[in-house]
């Protein structure tokens, strides 16, 4: 069938790819453009990147993003792995329902998750800050970690664990020496996914961050609202690169046999 690919279909496909990728190319290109206002190319510069590192608000945002990303990744990786193990290895009442509930945070629009968490924190009288952002990020990353680890668990050979037990290893030794090493790529790719989502998230964070605890996307949004300047292109290029690299890594780990 591929031999008779109609020409108009190729044109549409190319147009769609252009629509999706040209804006990103323009963004990246203009982050190196040596002009503050011009919409045309003036010359190459790294000035906008240099300036980023001199802006205290961006540096604070970056620090907050790294803290939030790191903490929520570790917490959701550990909790997510445990939940996946419980769901995959044990039969108990309400298991199917619990597995279904995994998808609720995924199909819920982010804005609803955001305000639900905000109301929860307000009711519990937890002051908004880095802690609430971390809790919120764990809440939306957890499902993704569980799903990735579950997929890995389903492809795993349980005989190896049984063999280890028969050869005299107790449950804890078996877990650390047999289960975890096999599960590792799944856990790692779930963790990378979690970090990426945490690093990128704007909507949920915007509801649960107090003043003075802004992550990078919140800072960037504030900048965009005030004025569009090339520094925004520079920081967006960096975020784009980091995200793409992490997703690529996570994908490679998931495919690893």
């Amino acid at each position: 069938m591929s031999s008779r690919l109609p020409r108009w279909l190729i044109s549409v496909t190319l147009a769609v790819y252009a629509f999706l990728h040209l804006p990103l190319l323009v963004l990246v290109a203009f982050s190196f453009n040596d002009s503050k206002f011009s919409a045309s190319w003036v010359g190459f510069t790294l000035d906008w990147y240099y300036r980023l590192f001199q802006r205290p608000d961006i540096m604070r945002g970056l620090k907050a993003s790294l803290i939030v990303g790191g903490a929520s990744t570790v917490v959701s990786a550990v909790l997510g792995t445990l939940v996946a193990l419980a769901l995959a290895r044990h039969r108990f009442r309400g298991r199917t329902a619990l597995e279904g509930f995994l998808y609720v945070p995924i199909v819920t629009p982010e804005i609803v998750v955001g305000i639900s968490l905000l109301i929860l924190f307000a009711l519990a009288k937890i002051p908004l800050g880095l802690t609430t952002i971390i809790i919120a990020h764990v809440a939306f990353c957890l499902s993704f970690v569980v799903i990735v680890v579950l997929a890995r668990l389903e492809g795993m050979d349980q005989n190896l664990e049984e063999a280890a037990m028969i050869l005299g290893a107790d449950e804890i030794t078996t877990f650390w020496k047999v289960t975890v090493p096999q599960l590792w790529p799944g856990i790692l790719s779930g963790a990378l996914l979690a970090f990426t989502m945490s690093f990128d998230d704007f909507v949920i964070t915007s509801f649960v961050s107090g003043s003075g605890s802004s992550t990078l996307p919140i800072v960037v949004y504030g900048m965009v609202r005030r004025n569009i300047e090339p520094s925004i292109n520079a920081i967006s290029t960096i975020i784009l690169l980091v995200t793409t690299a992490l997703i690529y890594l996570a994908d490679r780990l998931t495919r690893e046999k």
């Binding site: 629509f19 999706l20 206002f37 819920t108 629009p109 982010e110 804005i111 949004y221």
Partner: protein
């Protein structure tokens, strides 16, 4: 008593060169722009600031202005607000205003060269739509791609052998078999698009309000949490309806397959 107030105000469209104009004028020894230059004063725009009164305005931004200079301030966004215009007219009746406008860009430059009238692109419903399509297109492509990949090509060959023309083959074989992907894609696009507010906020310029903007607004500026919760519950109900529809279609497909 009130101190110095601006003799002129600069505003205009974003990225139309207002900052360039302000910084250039500021270099002139006989002109003094409000300090600090950044962030912009936005005094007539921001409710809290305006509530502080003209004395504060003068003290905060113009206290250091030398007596023998012409004084100005620049807040690009004054252009966007009718109330800012009314306040400036009421408080500074004699003020001179420099507003920079533009409707040029790559596409409009080309249109003008072709002899066509320039069109408004940013801050229109079209801009919001384009932004949403841009953001969610992959969520539609991927499930359709996944179900097309599983499509049994021999079915298409059979249809061809039996004399079906290309359009007919598409309509009666490819389309029905890739329907689960289409429906899943619709769900994956519809749900996040329903709750989105960033796209309409940045590209629609606060004029193109979506329910997401309404919810966001109730929880930030308007501080009406119950109303915001009710609006977000409507979002959830719509999501639920979409998911139910999806499950129903999926069930029917499976029933047909067996």
């Amino acid at each position: 008593m009130t101190g110095r107030l601006p003799d002129f105000i600069i505003g205009g469209a974003p990225r139309s060169g207002t900052t360039w104009l302000a910084t250039t004028l500021d270099r002139h020894p006989a002109i003094w722009m409000a300090k600090p230059l950044r962030p912009e004063p936005k005094f007539f725009l921001v409710e809290e600031l305006y509530a502080e009164g003209l004395d504060q305005y003068s003290a905060r931004w113009f206290a250091e202005a030398p007596d023998d200079t012409v004084v100005g301030e620049k807040s690009t966004n004054y252009l966007e607000s009718g109330s800012a215009a009314r306040r400036i007219a009421a408080d500074l009746p004699g003020v001179r205003m420099i507003f920079l406008l533009r409707d040029t860009g790559l596409i409009n430059n080309w249109l003008v060269k072709l002899g066509v009238d320039p069109i408004a692109m940013l801050y229109t419903p079209f801009a919001v739509m384009a932004g949403l399509v841009y953001g969610f297109l992959p969520f539609m492509v991927l499930p359709i791609y996944a179900s097309l990949e599983k499509l049994d090509l021999s079915l298409l060959e059979a249809a061809e052998v039996l004399g079906a023309r290309p359009t007919e083959r598409f309509r009666r074989v490819t389309l029905p078999l890739s329907m689960p992907g289409v429906v899943a894609g619709c769900l994956l696009v519809f749900i996040p698009a329903l709750g989105s507010f960033l796209t309409s906020d940045l590209l629609g310029g606060a004029k193109q309000m979506m329910i997401g903007n309404l919810v966001q607004n109730q929880f930030s500026a308007a501080r009406n949490w119950p109303f915001g919760s009710a609006a977000s519950f409507i979002v959830m109900a719509l999501v639920l309806a979409a998911v139910m529809l999806y499950l129903k279609v999926k069930d029917r497909e499976q029933a047909k397959a067996t």
